[in-house]
Subunit: 228 residues, 2 copies
C-alpha cells in the first residue's frame, strides 16, 4: 500500500508517519520508483505498536527506539528478544519524589544507600526468594523494573507506609498469574516478531486496564462486604 | 504535640503543614493558647495520607479535599464512607488521548457515543455480568472508575488493540482477589476512620507497586518459559 493508504488504515496522519520514518521508529517502505514507496501489514502493525508506546505508555521517541532495536534484533532469537524488549521498557512505577526533594528543604538525603532504600532492597530480595523467582534473583537488581520497584517501596516507606515481603507476597502471586495470561495471549500469535510486538504492547497497554479492573473490583468487594 | 514536633515526626516542612491547614486538608489543632495549637496522632496519620495522595497519587488539592470529606463524614457509617471515598478517588487509568485529538487533525470525533466507546461499554457490561459483580452493575456506569475503564478500553480499541470480555475476565478475577487482600489488610486496623484512611491509601499507593510486581513477574515467567 502507498503512504496515503497506510495513513488511512492506521488513522495516523501522513505527517506523523513521516516523522516516525525519519526517527527510525518505522522501517522504510520498499521503493517502487524514485518518489514512491510501498508499505505492508508489518508497517501497519509496527505503527500500531509505536502509537501504543507513545500514547498510552507515554514513552519518549528515544525509549521507543531502544525497545524496537530489541524487538528487531533477529540475531537474538525470540527468547532473548522478548526478555530484552521487556527489559528496555520503562514502567509507570516511577517513584514519587520525596517531600524533601519536592520542597527543596533537604530533610532527607536521596542516595543509593539511605535506610529506606536499603530496607526496600532487602524486602524485595526476601520476596523474590520466597516466590522462588530464581531468574529474577539472578539478574534482577540490574533490571530497570526491579530498581523502580525498590524505589517505589522505599518511597512508600518514607511516606510512613512500610511494606514487607508478607504484605507483598499475595499480590506478587497474583501478578505471577497475570504474567502467565500475558504470555499465553502472546503465544497465540504466529510469527516471532508478532509475538515480541504483542508482548511489548500488552506490557504497556494493560497497565491502565488492570488498574481500572482493580478499582471496580474494590468497589464490588466493598459493596459485597458492607452493602451498597 | 506542637507544630514543630508534628513537622519533625512527619518530616513534612512547617510551611507545607500550614498550607495543608489553610486548604482544609488537615483539621486544625486544639488551641492551647492564643498562638499555639496542640496536634495528635490523628494529625500525623492524616498528614501521611495527604502526602500519599498528593505525592504518589498525584492528586490535586481539590481532589484530596473531596476524598477527605467522605472519609470524615461520620454520619455515613463505615460502609458508605468507604464506598464514597473510593468512589471519589481519581485513578491513574486516564484514557490516552487519541491521535486525532493529539495532532488536532480531527480524524476521529471524540464523543460519548462514538463506535469504540459504545463497543467498550458493551464489553465492560458483558464482563461485569459474567463476573456476577451485581453491585457494580447496579451503580457502575455512574462511578468515575467505571467510566475511566470504558474510556481506556475504547482508546485501546481505536489504537488497534481490541479487548473483549473473554480477554478481560481472567484479569478481572485476579483483581477480585487483590481486592479481597486489600480489604483484609484494612480490616486489621482498629478504628473506622483508620480503616477508611487505610483503604484510600492502599488504593492510591498500591497501584505502582502492583505494576512493578507485574513487570518482575513477566520477566520471571518469560525466563522460565524461554530461558534467560
Amino acid at each position: 500500500m502507498r503512504l496515503a493508504d497506510l495513513s488511512e488504515q492506521s488513522r495516523v496522519s501522513i505527517a506523523t508517519i513521516k516523522y516516525y520514518l525519519r526517527e527510525g521508529l518505522l522501517p522504510p517502505g520498499r521503493l517502487v520508483n524514485a518518489t514512491q514507496a510501498e508499505y505492508d501489514e508489518s508497517h501497519l502493525r509496527r505503527l500500531r505498536l509505536v502509537r501504543a508506546m507513545i500514547q498510552v505508555g507515554r514513552m519518549s521517541v528515544a525509549a521507543v527506539r531502544e525497545v524496537l532495536v530489541q524487538v528487531d534484533d533477529e540475531s537474538l532469537g525470540r527468547t532473548t528478544r522478548l526478555g530484552a524488549a521487556l527489559w528496555a521498557l520503562p514502567r509507570a512505577t516511577e517513584a514519587a519524589p520525596d517531600e524533601a526533594e519536592q520542597d527543596g528543604h533537604g530533610q532527607d538525603e536521596a542516595g543509593q544507600d539511605d535506610p529506606a532504600t536499603a530496607a526496600a532492597r532487602r524486602q524485595i530480595s526476601d520476596l523474590i526468594a520466597r516466590l522462588g523467582w530464581a531468574d529474577v534473583a539472578a539478574i534482577g537488581p540490574l533490571s530497570p523494573v526491579y530498581r523502580e520497584l525498590v524505589a517505589t517501596v522505599a518511597s512508600l516507606q518514607r511516606l510512613g507506609y512500610p511494606l514487607d515481603a508478607d504484605d507483598l507476597a499475595p499480590y506478587a502471586r497474583l501478578m505471577e498469574q497475570t504474567a502467565v495470561h500475558d504470555l499465553d495471549r502472546m503465544e497465540r500469535l504466529r510469527t516471532s516478531v508478532e509475538q515480541v510486538e504483542e508482548a511489548v504492547a500488552s506490557a504497556v497497554l494493560f497497565d491502565p486496564v488492570l488498574l481500572g479492573l482493580r478499582g471496580l473490583a474494590q468497589q464490588q468487594e466493598a459493596a459485597r462486604r458492607y452493602g451498597l
